[in-house]
């Protein structure tokens, strides 16, 4: 009798565990995009492996295209001197580039909190299924994070101009083709 009870209990536990596992599988998956590296720049160790790290804050002779306009920061506040292919937290923990939101979240905690629950930032995919999260750096240049102004798409036609349209031209934005009007002059 006792053996039977134990077996039954074990079976029940197994069933519950399997149920929890399958419920977790059913949850929408959250994936992130990849950081938009400049072509040929990654892995950083391709060049840096043979260079002794110079930790002094200075104007670089390479990477001149980077204008650092991000608080009073310096490369090695985020990039790791010992392992150039990684970022590091303030406490020295190494973070891969794909999880850079942890590094950003150290200072921008409120934004990081909003990003995790979907209030800040952009998600694409399925509202009740798999979603892709844009990383911080997909929208903000980490070296100059203020969002850059954009060229707006054409003005809508006024009430008397809805027929004064020459045609439509395609505009490609983020791999999506949008059709915008071309007006008669």
């Amino acid at each position: 009798m006792r053996h039977k009870l134990i077996v039954a209990a074990a079976l029940a536990l197994f069933v519950i565990a399997a149920g929890i596992a399958s419920a977790e599988d059913a949850l929408p998956k959250l994936t992130t995009t990849t950081p938009p590296f400049t072509e040929g720049i990654f892995p950083c160790t391709a060049c840096h492996a043979s260079m002794p790290p110079n930790k002094e804050k200075r104007t670089l002779s390479f990477h001149t295209e980077i204008q650092l306009k991000h608080g009073d920061n310096w490369c090695l506040n985020c990039h790791d001197a010992a392992n150039r292919d990684m970022l590091h937290m303030a406490n020295g923990d190494l973070i891969p580039f794909e999880k850079l939101y942890q590094v950003c979240g150290q200072c921008h905690g409120n934004i990081y909190r909003d990003w995790k629950i979907g209030i800040h930032g952009k998600r694409v995919g399925y509202w009740n299924g798999d979603k892709t999260y844009y990383l911080c750096v997909n929208c903000h240049d980490p070296h100059s994070p203020k969002f850059k102004p954009l060229k707006p798409l054409p003005v809508p036609a006024g009430p008397k101009e809805i027929m004064k349209i020459k045609g439509t031209v395609p505009v490609v934005i983020e791999d999506k083709k949008l059709y915008v009007p071309e007006y008669d002059k």
Binding site: K122, W127, P156, I162, L178
Partner: protein
């Protein structure tokens, strides 16, 4: 013959005479005698969709798919728009035009992006807003932006005034229009306090090669002259399972647009309502919108 029967047969006879005899093919008859959409069985809905697909194919040579799938159970759609982030770039406007097969000429657009000067009177009074703003780059310094589209009201004034019941609220919260049932009286446009309903003043044109073939009967299917249409939260995308985000959400370069199920406490929109200061446009009119504006800063 009773007086009542006489009037009935005269009415039916006159109705029959109204059908143009020269092109009385099956399709025309079926269109004329089409039942009310909400009273149709799923099978009848499918047949109507097939007929419309065939008509479009005959007209343009392009094959499209018209879905008639019903609302997902346990879903009430909600929309959030972050006014702290919107930069007024109008990408949403044209993503919507492209996705929903809106007429290119005459121009029809579901989304109106309004520009306000900082500190200007707004929300209660949209008269100071600019719709036709022209800038080389946005956001223009000293201005902010508020896109307005259908608010998918829970107490929709547009539905109340429709004399033919051609517009109604679906169980998932989307206010839809049956373009075949709409007589184009535009009462709903007068009733809507958000200017969200748009009228086809002439035969709508979309170049067939630009036509999005993934359509829904209540959404972006081919439209015609003289009827009203409106934003449906991209019903053809969102009502799938799993459902995609609306086109305007996916194109927004600043991630200002949020979409999800209001009945799911973990969805983005529910989290916005819980964690941020939200407001609904012209809430004092008791329209009870499902569209929440908020400030993340």
């Amino acid at each position: 013959m009773k007086r009542r029967d006489f009037i009935k047969s005269v009415a039916i006879g006159l109705g029959g005479l109204l059908i143009p005899a020269d092109k009385s093919d099956a399709s025309l008859w079926e269109t004329f005698f089409q039942k009310y959409f909400r009273e149709m069985t799923p099978e009848e809905k499918k047949n109507i969709a097939k007929r419309l697909e065939k008509e479009y194919k005959e007209k343009t040579g392009v094959s499209i798919n018209i879905k008639t799938n019903e609302a997902l159970p346990g879903v009430k759609y909600g929309y959030g728009l972050d006014l702290s982030r919107c930069i007024g770039c109008r990408r949403c406007v044209y993503a919507c035009v492209t996705e929903n097969n809106l007429s290119r000429k005459p121009q029809v657009q579901y989304i109106t992006v309004l520009e306000f000067k900082n500190g200007e009177k707004w929300v209660s009074d949209l008269e100071e807003s600019k719709k036709y703003y022209k800038h080389d780059e946005v956001p223009a310094p000293g201005h902010f932006y508020m896109p307005v589209q259908c608010q998918q009201c829970d107490n929709p004034p547009c539905v109340k005034v429709c004399p033919t019941k051609a517009t109604w609220k679906e169980p998932d919260g989307i206010v839809v229009v049956d373009y075949n049932w709409c007589i184009g009286c535009r009462y709903c446009m007068a009733a809507c306090p958000y200017g969200a309903r748009k009228f086809n003043w002439a035969e709508p044109t979309v170049p067939p090669e630009q036509f999005n073939p993934n359509t829904h009967y209540l959404g972006n299917r081919p439209k015609f002259n003289g009827h009203v249409e409106k934003c449906t939260f991209c019903i053809q995308r969102t009502r799938e399972n799993p459902g995609r985000y609306p086109a305007c959400v996916e194109i927004c370069p600043v991630g200002a647009r949020k979409f999800g199920n209001l009945l799911d406490p973990e969805s983005e929109i529910s989290q916005c309502i819980e964690k941020k200061r939200v407001f609904r446009l012209k809430e004092e009119l008791n329209t009870n919108p499902s569209f929440y504006y908020f400030f993340s800063l």
